[in-house]
Amino acid sequence: MNALARSDTTPSARAQGRWRRNSAYAPLLTTLALFAAMVGAGGILYDGFLSPQVFLNLLVDNAFLCIVAVGMTFVILSGGIDLSVGAVVAFSTVLLAQLVQRHGWHPLVAIALVLALGAGFGALMGVLIRRFRLQPFVVTLAGMFMARGLATLISVDSIDIDHPFMTSVAYLRIPVGGGNTLSVGAVIALLAVAAGALLAATTRFGRTVYAIGGNETAARLMGLPVDAAAIKVYALSGFCAALAGVVYTFYMLSGYSQHAAGLELDAIAAVVIGGTLLSGGSGYVAGTLAGVLVLGVIQTLISFDGELSSWWTRIAIGALLLVFCLLQQLFWRKR
């Protein structure tokens, strides 16, 4: 007779309180459902809200945020945080613009350099964090000062880009049927989400990231390459930020040190709203896409409204966030 084989238990019924929420896809599904509800509400309230292009614009206008948030998802899953991403985006736009406009580099070469620099910068911060046991928050905050500072050093004012290659990519619209289009940046963002989701779910690196976020000591005792993976996480985040910078450059056709101010917070918010736990180890890249869309839809609702004064705009954004998070919490609890 074996006790466990015949025990009459329902799996995972033990209440662990709020401290350990072992939900699988529930947060993701709730997020998506609430997103749909918000879109529906917008459609009822405002004319023209439900047109497919408005929805596609969510992707077009938030492509860079989405890419940054994919990198951030990995960082947060590993239990860290990366505050430098917004600044790295700005730095990438400035460097790219500078190289292309003022030094006559071919954009593709410049883009390759920018991506490599982004990944290298991230890796450097990762090394500082792991090798010298520094707190990620502080290291990446200093990294944020550094990247913005370097961007300002390269050029204080904004640089316009009129290189034919850049402009033709920027104006390129990929038709998706019904006269609706996506930008190149949006397509890159979707690819980034897909790649991120695959990386997280089906590779050794991805699973190691989850393991580190769950219990770092255990991950080490299991013989997982904890330090290497953690450094790679920051490199990945830096790379994503640089890629987002490239997409941002196409989006704006300019490089400017003040671009993407506060983007790090939006990215973190998107990740967390998408159901990833800030303490690490739990969440999905697909959720992050949902989080980005939710933030985008809040913004779109506000611009469609057109009645709010400046301060009511802020209050309304806060209120929508609140409503969203409260509902999310309600559904997670219910389960």
């Binding site: 614009n57 004012d157 400017y256 709010l308 301060w311």
Partner: protein, 297 residues
């Protein structure tokens, strides 16, 4: 019906980062909420991304005219092309944009930041007539990289650098705020041991903060240190009335009515000038008492 006769205007404001901006918003809203208009207002929270999103939503809502105060000069090409493709005319306010194709916008109404810097410098030259050099000048810059900061600095230096009596000994950013203006000025006063003759602040708020720092250091603002700043907000006039600020270069935010006219003309397809300059003056301390009650912001 009447709704159809109204001109729907989408107006995207930068944000509400200063009193100047608030006054500007109020003026525009008052003018465009008048009968005959249907205003869609959107505040971008100082982010260009948000502004682009707002423009896209205006296009999706098929407004008649788009007006906006760009956060920065560059980066508008793509979305303006979309507006053009949707046949929606665009009016720029407050700041210009750099685009390869001028036809992307109908007209631009607003101030010339470089000229404001020049005006401040010219006032200083005028006020320093007959005074021997060297005069030690400190500069409180606006937010690093912002268009007004860059342009006002450019205009000011253009004139001042030509006069050997003036030497800009310190220049630091005060982020356009009173608190930072005061903090930076405190540090300047100590680093220069009080030997400062002129302060040029990129906006009034920083000047107001700096005035407090100067007073706390035991000096007399307006006398020991002459001060010129830009914007012409109410606080500056109060300071001038008290003799603590010497001059302010007006940067007029109240162009709402003029904007409304332009919008109407643009919508009607009438020809409009590509550049409409707002009337602005330079006010000095002696005018303050008379001018103060008239200030609307």
């Amino acid at each position: 019906d009447r709704q159809a006769d109204r001109i729907t205007v989408g107006f995207s404001q930068v944000g509400a980062e200063s009193e100047w901006r608030t006054a500007n918003t109020a003026s525009v809203r008052a003018a465009l909420e008048a009968p005959g208009f249907n205003l869609k207002f959107s505040d971008a929270q100082q982010k260009q991304e948000n502004q682009i999103k707002a423009l896209r939503s205006f296009i999706a809502q098929r407004v008649d005219v788009i007006a906006f105060s760009p956060v920065v000069e560059s980066g508008w090409e793509t979305v303006l092309r979309e507006a053009k493709a949707a046949r929606i005319p665009v009016v720029l306010t407050d700041r210009a944009v750099k685009v390869s194709d001028d036809s992307l916008y109908a007209t631009f109404i607003g101030s010339d930041f470089v000229e404001e810097g020049r005006k401040a410098a010219r006032w200083l030259l005028q006020d320093s007539e007959g005074k021997p050099g060297p005069m030690r000048v400190v500069e409180l810059q606006g937010t690093v990289g912002s268009a007004p900061a860059i342009d006002r600095m450019k205009g000011f230096h253009e004139i001042i650098d030509a006069d050997p009596r003036f030497r800009i000994v310190r220049s630091q950013s005060g982020d356009f705020t009173r608190a930072k203006g005061k903090e930076v000025m405190e540090a300047f006063l100590k680093a220069e041991d009080g030997k400062i003759d002129v302060l040029f602040a990129h906006n009034d708020d920083m000047a107001i903060g700096a005035i407090q720092a100067i007073e706390e250091a035991g000096l007399k603002p307006g006398q020991d240190i002459r001060i010129v700043s830009i914007d012409g907000v109410r606080g500056a006039f109060e300071a001038m009335k008290a003799g603590k600020l010497n001059a302010t270069v007006e940067c007029n935010p109240l162009f709402g009515p003029r904007l409304a006219e332009l919008v109407r003309d643009v919508h009607a397809g009438k020809p409009v000038p590509k550049r409409v300059v707002v009337e602005e003056g330079v006010f000095v301390a002696s005018q303050a008492a008379a001018e103060l009650p008239k200030r609307k912001y």
